[in-house]
């Protein structure tokens, strides 16, 4: 391990090279921060918590989407060098910053918000935590909308209308939520060429999710739920 790290950053269409001093336990976010503070103040990038909780620092590192605050340089550096770029599949604002609006619009289009029918006057909804539906929902609810899965997905890059793994995963957690009353509308929203049926089980989303969720499993659940509803005439 040499004393300096060779860093290439994709800014627009050009790769710019920097040299950064290497330290033990250094993260890729440390590297980007160093470059912006000490070498080039015009470098634009996003971060917030820097401790692996918010997902804001997601970028492409050596070709794979990752949380840069949780990526140790030692783990990813090859020949003392790394290459950093913005997340794939999202419009570029500048340098390492992407426009997340389509990501969240698709979340909404997939029916990604909860709708219940109970009021404060009703009793609590009894939901057994060990029921199959609740276990399925619990397996997917920790998503923080960081966009890594969306960036990793080949179908998103091939099909601009595809809702994507995060939006579909969220829809699945709500379809599995016994208290939600908009299941039929949600299944209608996620069925079709732009929805769950476009998933070809590449499983890049599952492979890259920093919270170890499996959107593939959620999407498979949606495929089955949609088929059942269609057969029953409920779609």
């Amino acid at each position: 391990m040499s004393a300096t790290l060779k860093v290439k950053i994709l800014r627009g269409s050009a790769l710019e090279s920097f040299e950064v001093p290497r330290h033990p336990s250094q993260t890729v976010l440390d590297v980007v921060t160093y470059i912006q503070r000490e070498l080039d103040p015009t470098l634009a990038y996003r971060f917030a918590c820097r401790v692996g909780m918010c997902g804001s620092c997601a970028m492409t590192v050596n070709g794979a989407p990752r949380w840069t605050c949780r990526t140790h340089v030692d783990r990813v550096a090859r020949n003392d060098s790394i290459e950093i770029g913005p997340l794939r599949n999202l419009p570029l604002i500048r340098d390492l910053v992407t426009d997340m609006r389509t990501f969240f619009d698709k979340w909404e289009r997939a029916g990604g918000h909860f709708e219940g029918a109970a009021t404060r006057h009703d009793d609590f909804a009894p939901v057994r935590p060990d029921s199959e539906d609740r276990k399925a929902a619990d397996a997917g609810i920790e998503c923080i909308g960081c966009g890594v899965c969306y960036a990793a997905c080949d179908v998103v890059s091939w099909n601009p209308d595809y809702l994507g793994p995060a939006a579909l995963n969220r829809a699945w957690t709500l379809v599995s939520d016994a208290r939600d009353v908009k299941t039929r509308e949600r299944l209608r929203a996620v069925a079709g060429d732009a929805g769950c049926h476009a998933c070809h089980t590449h499983m890049s989303c599952t492979e890259r999710c920093p919270k170890h969720l499996s959107p593939t499993a959620g999407i498979a659940g949606l495929k089955r739920a949609v088929a059942k509803a269609a057969i029953k005439g409920d779609l």
């Binding site: 089980t201 590449h202 499983m203 492979e207 499996s214 593939t216 498979a220 495929k223 089955r224």
Partner: protein, 100 residues
Amino acid sequence: MSKYFALVHRVSGLALAVFLPAHFWVLGKGLEMEGFLRWTEQPMVKLAEWGLVVLLAAHLGGGLRVLAVEFLDWHEWQKSLAAIAGALMIAAGLAFALAL
């Protein structure tokens, strides 16, 4: 890993979609069966047949993986299903190669 199995599945499917009409057309031409069998003895034809069976095995293996992911409950071991599917692909191809 699964991404590569999915791509093999897709490319083998494309190749089969091209082969299948040709296969049907040749068989339906009412070729004199004896002459046809002699033609299939040629080494290039044998190689093509072997390639086709490998494509078929690859597509079938990849397809079984898709069915498993879509219909069986999610478990970590499903990732190794991809590996098993691959092994079956190669096994089928080899078995046919031996039978040729």
